[in-house]
């Protein structure tokens, strides 16, 4: 696969790098972990396989050999050789095919999973790119023009003989989330907010600012204040932690967040809604309804079960389709 043209931020990610946070090495991983896994699941691959995460403008990619692809997440109007290709449905591209993304229709980050897998080395047990540590993924950096990413096997062994783009006969019919509700559970310093501030947090809208990236989403909205002058010593934070900054505004920590922080942790976005948040763009407004832990866990487990089922059925389908063991 050759990168013909780089996008604004195209990086290799998987579900994250775990077990190193105590050394200050954060998990990185896909911003929308659900879509990342869905792309892999629809190809019947291990859910934690490496994918390319792209924002708009996205990269132009050329596939030197016939390859099976699955695109999920944001809709950037993907086309192969100028023919529109589906989202959430695998398709085969012929040798020399060029994948481009024409315009941002909806969402913020898109995922491309490939069959066969990209041939990449793990760093600390994960394929995710850690831009800060300049390690993992593709040489520890975002993809750039001229990069040639090899595949671990040739599709020839799967007997793909095709000169045209061909969609495979299965897909995910999940509807896109369009709700602005991003559920949260209370954080350790929730009780530092006076009642009036709690109401503002829960019942007013916040808009996502331009100063938002893979590290965090800064929000604009009602100014919030804590009751106490107490200064917090640093503790661990996580993907989804909502911190109150000294200027009274909020930041939601995203996939490339730092491992520890010292601002009050007002609340945490529930894991099942992080993919929804990751697909929001600057200017979008969101609200933070409160959930109980039971609800948060239940929603997360539903997503995990859904992905596992898709992966299981698609693995059988693709083996049958390509007459090959994967």
């Amino acid at each position: 696969m050759t990168i013909i043209k780089a996008g604004i931020l195209d990086s290799i990610q998987d579900t994250g790098r775990f077990g190193y946070r105590h050394l200050g090495i954060n998990p990185s991983g896909a911003s929308d972990v659900f879509s990342c896994q869905l792309a892999n699941a629809l190809l019947g691959k291990n859910l934690n396989s490496p994918v390319i995460e792209m924002h708009f403008p996205a990269a132009q990619l050329q596939f030197n050999k016939a390859t099976v692809l699955c695109i999920t997440g944001a809709d950037f109007a993907p086309c192969i050789n100028d023919i529109p290709v589906p989202i959430n449905q695998p398709f085969i591209v012929p040798a020399s095919a060029v994948l481009i993304f024409k315009k941002p229709v909806s969402g913020s980050c898109c995922y491309v999973s490939t069959l066969p897998n990209m041939d990449l080395k793990k760093w600390l047990n994960s394929y995710s790119t850690n831009l800060k540590a300049a390690a993992g993924g593709w040489n520890g950096r975002k993809l750039k023009k001229g990069d040639e990413v090899a595949f671990s096997a040739s599709v020839d062994k799967y007997e793909i003989k095709t000169g045209v783009v061909r969609s495979l006969p299965w897909y995910s019919s999940l509807e896109k989330n369009i709700s602005s509700d991003i559920m949260v559970i209370k954080g350790s310093e929730w009780c530092w907010l006076p009642n009036e501030m709690k109401q503002k947090f829960l019942y007013t809208s916040f808009s996502i600012s331009n100063l938002s990236d893979r590290m965090g989403y800064r929000l604009y909205g009602e100014r919030l204040e804590v009751e106490t002058g107490e200064h917090l010593v640093s503790t661990a934070v996580s993907f989804g932690t909502i911190q109150l900054l000294p200027n009274g505004q909020l930041i939601v920590l995203m996939a490339d967040h730092q491992t520890t922080g010292g601002y009050p942790r007002i609340a945490h976005v529930i894991s099942a809604h992080l993919p929804y948040l990751a697909q929001k763009n600057p200017g979008d407004t969101i609200r933070f309804p409160l959930a109980e832990i039971e609800t948060a866990e239940r929603k997360l487990l539903q997503q995990i079960n859904y992905l596992q089922q898709i992966q299981k059925t698609c693995k059988l389908k693709i083996q049958k389709y390509l007459h090959a063991d994967l």
């Binding site: 775990f18 077990g19 190193y20 946070r21 105590h22 050394l23 200050g24 090495i25 998990p27 760093w123 600390l124 850690n130 800060k132 540590a133 300049a134 390690a135 520890g140 559970i185 954080g187 350790s188 107490e230 917090l232 010593v233 640093s234 503790t235 661990a236 934070v237 996580s238 989804g240 932690t241 730092q258 491992t259 520890t260 942790r265 945490h268 976005v269 529930i270 894991s271 832990i293 039971e294 948060a296 866990e297 997360l300 487990l301 995990i304």
Partner: protein
């Protein structure tokens, strides 16, 4: 041997919990945190994904799918596991806390961008600041913020200058800084707001190694002053 400090267990989102021992920077409490950290790391419990010690808290990330069942939440199950471990933790001599690491630092105004500011603010000479900063053996309380960034203390009150109001957009790797009672070293180029008083030629984070972090929680750190030519030679030997 001392008793376990009073603690509370709180959720950190829906996939982690934190054991809080208060909101303080305190050697004894941090020792308890690190003892508990090592104990849990050694246990290699299959549902535990990440364990993160901080000044006075330990955060444990767990696998929700592996812990939740129809009768209990993953949070309650994880809390139960932690509470069964806690009583066994003793805060007596920890063999792990014997590492003393000497860190060479070039304290000059070229690399120590805020060295003169710190001296002026504290009514001291630059030499006094260096003498005071090198006189203390510091404890690494935690590693966070960046890969391999050690949060150390406790800085002598005479030079404990608060962090800058307007952080720099780039602080060079190796920069040694002060932020109130804390001192630290930037392992990588990064935006940062600490008062920079010098630079070490040591590599604090090496991404080519499996164990690439030089200074770890519980380590004792002694800074010592080196001259410009030592700094340059050090760099040529180690890069």
């Amino acid at each position: 041997m001392s008793f376990l400090h009073p603690y509370t267990i709180v959720p950190v989102g829906d996939s982690a919990l934190a054991i809080h021992f208060g909101n303080v920077i305190d050697d004894a409490i941090n020792k308890t945190v690190l003892q508990l950290f090592r104990h849990i790391q050694l246990s290699k419990h299959p549902v535990i994904i990440d364990v993160v010690p901080a000044f006075a808290s330990l955060t444990i990330f767990y696998n929700v799918a592996a812990l939740a069942n129809s009768s209990t939440t993953a949070f309650d199950a994880a809390t139960h596991i932690v509470e069964s471990i806690l009583p066994g933790i003793q805060t007596e001599d920890d063999q792990h806390e014997k590492r003393v690491i000497r860190v060479p630092v070039l304290y000059d105004v070229v690399h120590g961008l805020d060295l003169e500011y710190v001296a002026t603010t504290c009514n001291l000479s630059v030499n006094d600041v260096v003498a005071i900063h090198t006189a203390t053996t510091y404890r690494v309380f935690m590693v966070g913020f960046l890969p391999g960034f050690p949060y150390m203390g406790t800085v002598d009150e005479r030079i404990s200058v608060p962090r800058k109001k307007h952080p720099r957009t780039k602080v060079t790797a190796g920069s040694v800084g002060i932020a109130g009672k804390q001192t630290g070293v930037y392992p990588l180029d990064s935006p940062g707001g600490w008062q920079i008083i010098g630079r070490t030629p040591l590599k604090l984070f090496d991404n080519t190694k499996e164990d690439g972090v030089l200074l770890k929680p519980g380590d004792s750190i002694q800074f010592y002053s080196i001259a410009r030519d030592e700094f340059d030679n050090y760099q040529s030997r180690h890069t």
